[in-house]
């Protein structure tokens, strides 16, 4: 369970790197166990492993190179998903949306994969009435609209009176009402063609999801379009509405399921600060589960979003295999954009050995020497495993690789790995190293472990 939890932690944090973490963990644990059986001190070994971990992480950080550009991102995606079309699309998408951009991965209707870009931001929650859609169209839009941002409930048409008076005073020529509930009776006010001619209005449901997510979307919308969100739970009504409470946008659009804005007229400085706060909160979150909704909110506010439609021969294949694959690859690309890339194929870990070897040479402490040796041996293992799995003898080349040069198993030659696009994501590798060494250190100081009876024969990082 301990190793399973360790690997799950890697997957949760960065979405990839579990095989590397498993290899490192297993090797360090086995070497450590031998040392402890021979009489070594568990706690001293654990402290020494912690020291070794920091040296390796520093060495990895020093190797990290930023990645940008469609070609290099496509190359990275290729190493993550081994699917040419998916890699091409992910490379293009991330070149455009960047680290924080919003990407939705959906099952497509076709066998091929496709992508679509949306300008502006959009949220769940569509029109209350389909009769608000123009004849024969699936989308309604308003230009230069005033926007009421709320989750308020409206039962009577008269409740809208303060709003309509405020809009008239503000001089706005069209109105989008975001609301929690609007009764049919209240809705009739806006379905009247005469009223629509006087003040074109869209009445839109405030987010399909209730609770905190709905409040978050209203808060984000207010940051984007200006104005102030009014909340039912706070007992707010339209009676205290002021013109400055209304948001404004160059365009508001809505379908039956979604609504969005293009060219929000909120204060850009306030928007930048709002995004900075969301980013700060995302960074402070410990788990991917808590971090992802915040990242998604940042992505939506960045001015556009992308959708990758994953198609396959069958819906099951698309849903179960390709969507997961695309999601894992996109998670890792985001980490790469944030943390950079290092030489792939196990070379970056080999290049961390120098720092550790120096520390080994300098320390007379037996526990530290045992820990450094265990980690040194483990750092070679991903390289050895990749070559062995490809049918090559690792010992023949291991002395010739390093300093960014590695063995390209497809070409059967030693090549500059980053230049050839054979890279690992620095953040993924760091997470794998950190989690594997920490996990092995904990396991070595734990009395009882439940071990899987049939261990896998081979793993590939």
């Amino acid at each position: 369970m301990l190793i399973r939890h360790t690997l799950w932690r890697v997957h949760e944090t960065v979405g990839d790197g579990t095989a590397t973490a498993a290899l490192l963990y297993q090797s360090i644990y086995n070497d450590g166990l031998r040392y402890l059986t021979a009489g070594g001190s568990p706690m001293a070994l654990r402290a020494a492993l912690d020291g070794a971990k920091h040296r390796v992480l520093d060495a990895l950080n020093a190797q990290a190179a930023p990645i940008s550009g469609q070609k290099r991102l496509t190359g990275l995606a290729r190493t993550l998903c081994y699917h040419e079309r998916m890699a091409t699309l992910l490379g293009e998408i991330f070149d455009i949306i960047g680290e924080a951009g919003a990407l939705e991965i959906k099952t497509g209707n076709r066998r091929d994969m496709e992508r679509e870009y949306f300008e502006g931001a959009y949220w769940d929650g569509g029109l209350f009435s389909r009769t608000q859609l123009p004849q024969g169209q699936t989308r309604a839009a308003l230009e230069n609209a005033a926007i009421l941002i709320s989750d308020l409930h409206f039962e009577e048409p008269g409740q809208f009176r303060p709003l309509l008076e405020t809009v008239a005073r503000s001089g706005a020529k069209s109105l989008a009402i975001i609301a929690g509930q609007v009764s049919d009776k209240a809705m009739a006010l806006f379905l009247n063609p005469k009223n629509q001619a006087t003040l074109p209005t869209l009445v839109i449901r405030a987010g399909a999801v209730r609770g905190d997510a709905q409040l978050d979307s209203l808060e984000d919308l207010a940051a984007l379009v200006g104005g102030r969100a009014l909340y039912q739970a706070a007992g707010q009504t339209l009676n205290e509405l002021r013109p400055e409470d209304l948001g404004h946008a160059r365009q508001v659009w809505a379908t039956r399921g979604d609504h969005g804005v293009i060219g929000g007229k909120g204060n850009p400085r306030a928007l930048c600060q709002h995004i900075a706060r969301l980013r700060e909160r995302a960074r402070a979150e410990q788990t991917a589960e808590a971090r992802k909704p915040l990242q998604a909110r940042v992505g939506k506010l960045m001015g556009g979003s992308a959708t990758l439609y994953v198609g396959a021969d069958s819906e099951a294949q698309a849903s179960n295999n390709y969507r997961d694959l695309a999601q894992r690859a996109s998670d890792a690309i985001r980490v790469a954009l944030r943390t950079g890339v290092v030489a792939g194929g196990g070379v970056a870990l080999l290049d961390c050995r120098a720092a550790l070897q120096q520390a080994l040479n300098e320390t007379p402490d037996a526990d530290q020497r045992a820990a450094y040796r265990a980690v040194l041996r483990a750092l070679e293992l991903p390289y050895r495993t990749i070559l062995a799995n490809a049918g090559y003898e690792p010992s023949e080349t291991i002395a010739q690789v390093g300093n960014g040069l590695g063995f390209d198993v497809e070409r059967g030659a030693i090549v500059p790995m980053i230049e050839r696009g054979i890279v690992d994501v620095a953040g993924v590798l760091s997470c794998a190293v950190e989690t594997a060494i920490s996990g092995a250190a904990i396991a070595l100081t734990t009395d009882v472990l439940i071990q899987q009876r049939n261990r896998p024969e081979q793993m590939q990082p």
């Binding site: 870009y117 160059r250 007229k265 928007l271 506010l301």
Partner: protein
């Protein structure tokens, strides 16, 4: 000096044989280095003009009028109008890729709707505002080595944004001044090698970078807070437009000398078609519509 009937001189464009001026009274051209100006055919308020770097061969000009971008491929004799997306944006700046002959990229910065991009020689334009958090764009500058670095800077009402992928996506640039309105950006002709650029703000700060726009620092100019609405570079010479005066440095910004052009007219645009040498003319456009050639 040429007096237009009304409006403002928004900007200039220089080709191998002509100068163009986008003015409130329309588009004007001069074939004698700014001494005399004639109408270039359009009398609608023209807010920006840009010429292809390969103008001698392709004759391509772009100009903006209302919610449209006009394109000419015969040196301004005939124009095609391209309507931008609704609601109609007002274009404040146009720029053409230095690699236009190969990539066909042109960009338009709009006052409320961000940046529009064309990659088909201006036949179609689409908004490309991923990461551009402020759509109130003021100025637009393309890297001289665009073919290699695909770098573009856009100044907005709340800061400076940079694209490293030809304008398909934007990232906010961290500046030493918090959220300034960036009125002007100029990049060194050797930007790929020296990474030098300058940005002028509405409150008169001059910011400079020497690492390709990654980091910026303030450069003392001794202004009275007047907006720096345009910057011209020529080697180590820097010329700033402060509205009622020009500031010139011939030593890379270490020292500055002020030159007042007139007592009552504010400068809205300027261009130095042959560089900033004292022997070469400077063409200055004013709020009010006048264009003056300074010897």
């Amino acid at each position: 000096m040429t007096e237009q009937s009304d409006g403002i001189v928004y900007g200039f464009a220089a080709t191998h044989d002509r100068l163009f001026a986008a003015c409130g009274a329309g588009l004007f051209q001069s074939a004698d280095e700014g001494r005399n100006w004639t109408s270039a055919g359009d009398s609608l308020p023209t807010t920006a003009v840009a010429a292809s770097p390969d103008f001698a061969h392709d004759g391509t000009l772009f100009a903006s009028v209302g919610g449209m971008i006009l394109r000419s491929v015969d040196g301004g004799a005939r124009w095609n109008a391209l309507q931008l997306a609704q609601p109609q944006p007002v274009v404040g700046a146009l720029a053409v890729s230095p690699n236009y002959a190969a990539d066909g990229v042109a960009l338009a910065a709009t006052i409320e709707d961000g940046v529009f991009r064309s990659a088909d020689r201006g036949r179609s334009w689409s908004p490309w505002n991923f990461g551009l958090l402020d759509l109130n764009t003021i100025c637009l500058t393309i890297s001289p080595s665009f073919a290699d670095d695909e770098t573009i800077f856009v100044g907005t009402e709340s800061g400076l944004f940079r694209s490293a992928n030809g304008g398909r996506a934007w990232r906010e640039v961290v500046l030493p001044v918090e959220y300034p309105a960036v009125m002007s950006v100029a990049l060194s002709p050797n930007f790929a090698r020296d990474g030098i650029g300058y940005a002028g703000t509405e409150s008169g700060e001059l910011l400079t970078t020497s690492d390709g726009g990654e980091s910026w620092r303030g450069l003392p100019v001794g202004t009275d807070g007047s907006p720096i609405s345009s910057i011209l570079l020529d080697g180590v010479a820097i010329l700033l437009n402060l509205g009622d005066a020009l500031k010139l440095s011939t030593d890379g910004g270490a020292s500055w000398q002020t030159r007042r052009t007139t007592n009552d007219m504010l400068i809205s645009a300027l261009i130095a078609p042959s560089g900033l040498s004292t022997r070469e003319p400077l063409i200055v456009g004013f709020i009010g519509g006048a264009i003056r050639r300074l010897e």
